[in-house]
Amino acid sequence: MAADVHSKQEVSKIDAPGRRTEPPVRPARTSSVRKTGLIFFPAFDWAISPTHPEREERLLYTRDQIFEEGLMDFPEIVEYRPRLAELKDVARVHFCVPDVQSQVTEAHLIAAGSTLVLADALMRGEIRNGFALVRPPGHHSMRVVHGNRGFCNINNEAIMVEYIRRKYGVRRIAIVDTDVHHGDGTQDIFWHDPDVLFISFHQDGRTLYPGSGFTSEMGGPLALGRTLNVPLPPGTTDEGILYVLENLVLPVLEEFDPQLVFNSAGQDNHYTDPLANMRFTAQGYARLNEMLAPDMAVLEGGYAIESALPYVNTGIIQAMAGLDYSNVREPDYVPGRFVLTSEMRRSIESTVNHLLTIWDSRDDLVAKARQEHGRFYSRRKRIFYDTDMITEGQEETLRMCTECPGYLTVSTQAARGYGRLNTAFCVSVPLFACRSCIEDAREEYEEHKSEMKYDYVYLQDKPSDRFRAYCTRTRNEIVL
């Protein structure tokens, strides 16, 4: 056995049945099932704080609109009951410091669990696509979680991705983040993953939270080009976003040929959103959804709770269910109200062209990165948690493995003001790791346990689906 630790056979051994041949799963395209699965979980009894944008009222008018439309009664739509995600589902994605329980409330587990209910329905073939119209959102939550960032604690969509991969053996997945804010959390989680294509378009980070998402952010050294960021000028209209979709997103998806396509469906590109400056309309959202035809859409942001959300969500639900959305419009909308200036158009075209070049040269970029870095690659990051006022310093180290995506370690320390919070050492073993990475990663975990350098040491062992958390002070290990 020891002789072929790096053989392909070992890699496929952890594959679930059916993965080896990798048929295109894409039920949305291939299934004869016509139903769209919907979970509406407005969490009418949960808020970050009474006047926070992420409060009870957020989906109230959306509820009124979609219930009054009678959308749930359409035979094309089937409504599911949410459930709570298990702590283990969270640990499969996140290093929650000190533990999962202290970073999530029931509302978070329900929002994440909703995506899992729909994922199961999708993979069982009950539905052809699904929409988790849930809150709280998740796309700003990164791999390591010390607190709430950008209204998010845990990343619903990433939790769904890892769940589906684990349970159903799907490997290649694309996530298209259409929220107006850069999906920096999702980007961070899949940064080193060559099997997850992450495309985010958003208002230019120089003008909007979280201030990232530039074209130069294109993935870790072994996954270069599998992260594509499309910063858009403030004021971009339907036409501009649909241009990106048609000229960048769809061709890239075609080539990447994912088994599943997910959409982080933020609704804050809307022309009335109070937190951003874009000019997207309900018609634009419906059209976007129709063209992208995601297997699953998950709500992220969107805070124009009266002027946008009721209409945008009606449009998205209709588009997913294949119903006619042409009658959906905001009360103050008149066609032709927003025009894309030629300056914006040129800027978008040049961004798209630049990204296509990156995409086309992705394999060369990876090859070059291999030459540049030795056996390990590291980077340092600083992360700010706006909601909880926490600053975090990280050092990330990736094994530049030639047989698998490589295991990753993250050393992290968090502080609030001058008060030190926690330090932790996190080891993550990818689901499709090679034997040597699995063994070395487990060893690193054991080594760091015996040192007293960190408060907590974690091992995210995806191949065995075991998630260990060790507290160096109490010497207590918890296994999920």
Binding site: Y61, R63, D64, F67, E68, G70, R81, L84, A107, R329
Partner: protein
């Protein structure tokens, strides 16, 4: 004494209840063409030799409305919609082609597009030309602002005075525009027929010297004075199954979880009572292919019954959904489950030789003994019932939830009892109960449980109040009442008090004020409306109800 009469699909059942005792029962056939006649014939047998002066209350449950709709005898109704932005109204599947008007109101009741008088006039004219005498006018969110619907009615009254207009907000204020449209149409389509029936029934009772108030049983198991029900005929649809459920409530221990099994000739009706509360269908009754806002028990009907035809196809037994006549044992042409039950010694309702002969037809096709064939037939029926019951529990467990507490509080439920009512239930219910690990109960008077249920059911009422303090207004869902709400700082307690008062007034209007104090707040919530970073108002929702229940004189001695 209380009298209950249920005019069902095949039989009309009647019962007379005194305190906690059933003092008399009667069963007669139902003639579909003559509902009132069927009712009165059985009534006459019930009151024969009874001092009618002692009757304090008469409760009717009838299939009148169900039949009118099923037989296409309801009146023709035109549909005028004011849908505004959203779903393309062509995607709704109404039974008639709706006329679409311009104009729109949003989710908070604000006008977002005006009506056009010329268009309304032209519509009125055109519908009159097409011979419509009744028109339903329904606007999206018009329950939160009546002006559009009222204005359309006004223009109609001038442009087409012969047309009777009913407005959506008067029929239901619940969210769901297409259901409101369907319910409004059904109300208009059946109201005249219902009114005639009610008048005749009332007159006939008075002729018989019965001076007691007459009530009708609604689909949610509540009673309503007959004269107060004239405007809302569709609420009485499915009162038959509701009567059976109320009968089971009356005849089984309080607070338990039971499956109600009513096995008839060709159908079996199933309903659930969860910890003493009958399960309501979550959004409203489905009447044929029409989804409505009618509050009704969640009754599932499957096409198997004692007289269903049994066949063999592809080596497998099938039962129903059709009926060819009575059981073979009673001279019918085809084998039925009743014959199989006789072969197994579970019932003796006919000629055993014929029962064996009928079942033998199936046995010879399967190449097995008559006894084995009988067992397989009965198993097939029991399987269908058990599968449906399990599905109903599963669906209840899987009902969507929109709040954290709603999601966390619901746990798995399993039946403690399987309760059989109706004629064909006794032999099958023990078999169903065994499969569900529950206790089989065939209550005394099981064949007339529905009539007993009608006799002892109490009124129900719901009141859903929404207050929008920023707009300074309130609406009541049930009948679209709309009024001014003063005070931006209204507290939840204040809102609940207001709801209680509104419910009391509503109960008085419906002549059931004696029960107003039974009303309980079922849920309430407050949404702070924040614009920018400051609170500009509150949206408060309070829901109250007088749930389905049994009048106290019956429970007085029966209760536990």
């Amino acid at each position: 004494m209380f009298a209950g009469i249920d005019v069902g699909g095949t039989t009309t059942n009647a019962a007379l209840v005194d305190g906690n005792k059933v003092v008399k029962t009667a069963i007669g056939p139902t003639d579909h063409h003559e509902i009132l006649g069927s009712l009165l014939r059985t009534m006459d047998r019930l009151i024969e030799g009874v001092d009618v002066e002692r009757i304090e209350r008469v409760v009717l449950s009838t299939t009148l409305i169900t039949n009118l709709i099923a037989e296409g005898k309801a009146d023709r109704v035109g549909l005028v919609l004011i849908p505004g932005p959203g779903v393309n109204p062509k995607d709704y599947r109404f039974r008639t082609e709706p006329v679409i008007l311009e104009g729109a109101v949003d989710y908070r009741g604000r006008e977002i597009a005006p009506l056009r008088d010329d268009q309304i006039r032209a519509t009125a004219q055109s519908l009159a030309d097409q011979g419509y005498r009744k028109v339903a006018v329904v606007g999206k969110f018009c329950q939160r602002n009546h002006e559009h619907e009222m204005h359309v009615r006004e223009v109609f009254s001038k442009a087409a005075p012969a047309i009777e207009v009913e407005m959506g907000h008067r029929v239901s204020g619940r969210l769901n525009f297409p259901r409101r449209a369907a319910t409004t149409m059904l109300t208009l389509a059946t109201r005249d027929h219902y009114r005639r029936f009610a008048e005749q029934a009332e007159r006939a009772m008075r002729e018989r010297g019965i001076k007691a108030p007459i009530y009708i049983l609604k689909a949610d198991g509540g009673t309503l004075p007959l004269d107060k029900s004239l405007d809302r005929p569709v609420e009485t649809i499915f009162s038959g199954p509701a009567a059976s459920v109320m009968g089971v409530m009356a005849l089984t221990p309080v607070g338990q979880t039971s499956v109600v099994v009513d096995i008839g000739g060709t159908t079996t009706d199933l309903a659930l009572i969860l910890s003493g509360k009958p399960l309501l269908s979550s959004k409203g009754a489905k009447i044929e292919d029409m989804l409505t806002h009618v509050r009704a028990f969640a009754v599932r009907s499957i096409g198997v019954g004692g007289d269903s035809v049994v066949r063999v196809s592809d080596g497998k037994i099938t039962v129903g959904p059709d009926r060819a006549g009575p059981a073979f044992a009673l001279g019918g042409p085809e084998p039925t489950p009743t014959d199989a039950l006789m072969v197994l010694g579970l019932t003796n309702l006919g000629d055993m030789t014929l029962a064996r002969k009928g079942t033998g037809i199936i046995a010879s096709k399967l190449g097995c003994s008559t006894e084995d064939a009988a067992r397989m037939i009965v198993d097939t029926v029991v399987d269908r019932i058990v599968d449906t019951v399990n599905m109903m529990f599963l669906e209840w467990e899987q009902e969507p939830a929109y709040r954290i507490w709603e999601l966390l509080q619901r746990t798995k439920a399993r039946p403690q009892n399987v309760v059989g009512v109706g004629g064909a239930s006794p032999p099958l219910v023990p078999l169903v109960a065994k499969r569900l690990n529950a206790v089989a109960i065939i209550p005394e008077h099981a064949p007339v449980a529905n009539a007993i249920g009608a006799a002892v059911a109490r009124p129900t009422m719901t009141l859903s109040l929404r207050i929008d303090t920023e707009r300074g207004m309130y609406t009541v869902e049930e009948d679209g009442t709309l009024g001014e709400a003063k005070g931006r700082n209204l507290s939840l307690e204040g809102a609940q008090e207001m709801a209680r008062q509104l419910l009391r007034e509503r109960a008085e209007r419906f002549g059931i004020q004696d029960y107003a104090d039974e009303a309980e707040v079922v849920d309430s919530e407050v949404f702070n409306m924040v614009r920018g970073w400051s609170t500009v108002g509150k949206l408060i929702d309070v829901r109250m109800e007088i749930p389905a229940g049994i009048i106290s004189s019956w429970r007085g001695e029966h209760g536990s």
